[in-house]
Amino acid sequence: MKKLARAFLGLSIPLLSGLCAIVIVLVVLIVMGEVILGGWSTLTWEFLSTGPKAGMTEGGIYPAIIGTLLLVVMMSIAGVPIGTITALYLSEYASQRSILARLIRFAVNTLAGVPAIVFGLFGLGFFIQFVGSGIDNILTGGADLKWGQPNILWASLTMALLTLPVVIVSVEEAIKAVPRELREASLALGATKWETIRKVVLPNSITGILTGGILAVSRGAGEVAPILFTGAAYFLPQLPGSLSDQFMELGYHIYIMSTQSPDVEATRGIQYATTLVLLLLTFALNFSAIFLRYKIRTRKLR
């Protein structure tokens, strides 16, 4: 009896765990297949290069693509330098046991764990209500509402906060991969610490900084919750022209089209194709990040 139970367990544990692995792979294939099959026929050049027409039931997603690009570019401009400098501090300057370094690590971990929607709330409460309204009050005495409302600037800054931990973690990894001998050679030649960082450490970790930026962009392009009420718009006739304009965004477009449009069935093709575009965009970014990371890890001493 005992033998039988053992034989059963010995067979079922590997089988069951293998089955779970297969389930995961299948689920990934099904999600991808569904989106690709559903969106492929609608995905044309015209779809990518024109705006929505006929009350969003026809036309393309050009403004949403541009809006997403603007968002991630502005987000990177705000987030990548701060993330890089923080990573530099954590790996080059801070003693691992100093209180400040531990405080910052704790903050980065916490930042990575805060739900995306809370970032949205923060963007609304801090950037729009506090900073934006403050600027309005100073400029026009509160008479004219220009900055104290959702716009692309506040959305980008909110998104930069969300993606900050992503940048920090991957830049730090890259900085750590710079061989110690290089630093020591530089210091031994009489370079100061900052000179070493600027001429040796940073040039050697540029791939890592790039990886961090790409991963952040991929994350930022996929998140919708933080921009729900900090700047994304349902439909805009023209592209955002200034920092205080609202914008259309791919993820938000998918959400709006699939839940709030009057006739969901009529725009089915558009929804699938938009999802496919977003999926392809994030995958292209993720794969290039994985590739770069692989290059960093296998790098030899030059």
């Binding site: 765990s17 779970c20 995961i24």
Partner: protein
């Protein structure tokens, strides 16, 4: 990519000096470089440029701490009026006319009637005001002539969806991780790991869309329940987002189980599966537990998936196949339409503050588990 969400066990931030550090990461190199070396600071040549740069870098990196503090302050600042009832401003005019419609419309309309009927039975709520006592009600009906801000349906909704998500994702993710760590041939590993990375890279709005358009109808046809969008579908969709988290952390802690342990077990005559099930898996329990906690945190805070896949009707019931409205989805759906400073606005911020605290606590506990229990077990013996 998903490992970024988690307190990565690989980074050297263990507070106490680790006796046998497994790599050169923690060892002397960072300490001897940072100026606390043998030479005292007053004997060094003072370089103003270097000094300024170092202080500047320190100041910039302090920003991330400042941001956390700001998030804390500003989310709570907006939520504060709820705890001090007198200061709540009068309701705005614009919102009372608006009627919302989210998600699928046909069942939502029926549900709304049902909710209205249930609402009529309880009418002793104070109009337009919200305070700690009022939040304990059982009806969430912020947009009506007599707004009610009972949080119970939202909390129950979040719990229902999270429970389904964890019950589905935890066994699958843990077993798959065990498969990778113990049984998988090389080609299977090379198939599974990219699959997990791809899954982790799918934006949540895409998962929500998939659940809404494809999964919901399929499951309804298969299981034949009444409402197309419900807590079960939401949880199922959420599990797609949670699996990579639990898998990554479980796999990480499984692969950190010292080889001595597995080899000792094998040497004593235990078979491969016995070693996996009775040595490796128990040894990595704290890490697995941490992974599940982080998964719960993610499921609880995730917005877009539940916003699209749960039907968004705030009903208080225990039935998994009825539509629900979760806390995060409520914020996502309603914040765009409220009047700034209004009671509804304050209550939504209060919900956000609760979400923040909850995920914060979960992350802290998870990190404690990884750092203290797991590492102690593997290093301290």
């Amino acid at each position: 990519m998903q490992e970024l969400n988690a307190p990565s066990t690989t980074s050297p931030r263990s507070p106490r000096p680790v006796p046998q550090a497994d790599s050169g990461e923690i060892s002397g190199d960072s300490r001897s470089r940072n100026g606390h070396g043998p030479k005292a600071w007053w004997k060094k040549r003072f370089r103003p440029g270097e000094f300024l740069i170092e202080k500047g870098i320190t100041a910039v990196s302090f920003l991330s701490f400042a941001f956390i503090a700001l998030i804390f302050v500003f989310v709570f600042r907006e939520a504060l009026p709820i705890l001090t009832p007198g200061e709540v401003k009068e309701k705005g005019e614009t919102e009372s006319v608006r009627q919302e419609s989210y998600g699928d419309d046909t069942p939502a309309a029926e549900l709304r009637q049902e909710i209205d009927e249930r609402a009529k039975s309880v009418e002793d709520f104070e109009e337009g005001s919200a305070h700690a006592g009022n939040l304990a009600g059982t009806i969430w009906q912020p947009v009506s002539s007599q707004p009610k801000y009972g949080l119970a349906p939202l909390v129950v909704g979040s719990l229902k969806v999270t429970t389904v998500a964890i019950l589905v994702s935890a066994p699958i993710a843990i077993l798959a991780a065990l498969f990778t760590a113990a049984f998988a041939p090389k080609w299977a590993k090379e198939l599974l790991k990219p699959a997990i990375e791809v899954l982790a890279g799918i934006p949540s709005v895409v998962i929500g869309f998939f659940a809404l358009m494809a999964m919901a109808s399929f499951m309804q046809n298969t299981l034949g329940y009444e409402y197309r969008l419900n807590a079960f579908i939401g949880g199922l969709a959420l599990s797609l987002a949670v699996i990579p988290i639990i898998y990554t952390i479980t796999e990480d802690s499984l692969s950190r189980v010292p080889r001595v342990m597995t080899e000792a077990s094998l040497a004593l005559g235990a078979s491969k599966w016995q070693t996996a099930a009775f040595v490796v898996l128990p040894a990595a329990t704290p890490g697995i537990f941490a992974g599940v906690l982080l998964g719960i945190g993610r499921a609880f805070g995730e917005t877009m998936i539940v916003l699209m896949a749960t039907g968004n009707a705030s009903m208080l019931s225990g039935d998994l196949f009825e539509p629900v409205r979760t806390m995060s989805a409520t914020i996502g759906a309603e914040m765009g339409e409220v009047v700034f400073g209004d009671t509804h606005y304050t209550v939504l911020f209060f919900i956000g503050a609760v979400l923040f605290i909850f995920t914060f606590a979960l992350n802290a506990i998870a990190e404690l588990f990884i750092r203290q229990r797991l590492m102690k077990r593997f290093e301290g013996q």
